[in-house]
Symmetry: C2
Subunit: 204 residues, 2 copies
Amino acid sequence: MNKIKDLTAEEKILNAAKRVFENKGMSGARMQEIADEAKINKSLLHYYYRSKQLLFEAVFKTAFNKLAPQINTILNSDQSICEKIKNFSHNYTTFMIKHPYLPNFILQELNRNPEFVKELISSKTFPSMKNFQQQIRDAVKEGKIRSIKAEQLFINILALNIFPFIGAPLIKGFINASDKEYLLLLEQRKTEVSDFIINSIKLK
Amino acid sequence: MNKIKDLTAEEKILNAAKRVFENKGMSGARMQEIADEAKINKSLLHYYYRSKQLLFEAVFKTAFNKLAPQINTILNSDQSICEKIKNFSHNYTTFMIKHPYLPNFILQELNRNPEFVKELISSKTFPSMKNFQQQIRDAVKEGKIRSIKAEQLFINILALNIFPFIGAPLIKGFINASDKEYLLLLEQRKTEVSDFIINSIKLK
DNA sequence: GTCTATAGCCAGATAGAC
DNA sequence: GTCTATCTGGCTATAGAC
């Protein structure tokens, strides 16, 4: 069993770079700070990753590839609508409580560089909207849920799950919650969010 | 009546700085780029605003002060819950379609500098959660809406309205929408969002 | 692989003429 | 108020010893 100290230099760099880039973004991050964080010499960063840009891309792609497959289960998996909503909300919130800076980091850099998305998404299993659209249409027709566009429902699911992490400082300010109180609200959202969505779309 | 060209140098700088900072963020922005955008000499930036930091703060506070009062109407205004949800969703989405980079800019910088919030919010009319909490409790007691915590409802309202702008590149990638198609979805959200929320909380 | 030293560049800020 | 020229510091990246 490995201790933390037994990580290779390359791994230490990647972990440190992750922390710094997530906090400061590409342009705000400093190679020296990453080196300090990793407790290694600055020139080793270049030895292993050649340039800041390449190190950044390694970090970004790793981060994005943790997020995208989770979202993709909404679009392409054989769960029922209700299961998708419940499972995604629970799993995503659980995961993000452990990595709260991840959504902000990814969306920040995607907004700076929007054409990046295509490259990232098209390289993976192509997330077609078709299956999900059909699933929603069928459920509407069968009278299981009220009429709603698949795209709008999809946006709503993402919004309710992702925003609480990106908007944390703003929300905390308005509701005047401490970090601890806010964490409790997030914990409750593991079930709160799916209840909210299902209540909105189900026919009674 | 003034033409655009009749703006003072100070105004031209502020407008240009707004555009550049919103796109690049504090650390990514360049004073030279702001000067070019404003079509003035770079040293005038320092003449009017002393430093990049002060120019940034001027831009940021202006932006934040456009956003905060809108949010505050949810917490403190004498509208009914239903009116609040409908009006806020419609007004906010309409406004943000005209300023799509604003939410990302503000949340980005708040995440980098979370203690900034206190300073910004406490200087305005103090947005107490109390009124809104009471309003929700009353509505629940009167059987108008199902049981829900005011904080969670507040987060949901913000999430559904704000996220579509911050998450645009990500969403566009997943649902494979062009800019034009996405704009249409946003237009629909002016009423879609409030329907979604009200459907979730109203008792039938 | 890991270090020190430094090249080379670029950005923010200022001096000073007009 | 507006310009040109320049200082100064900090940052990425590399050269080269070990």
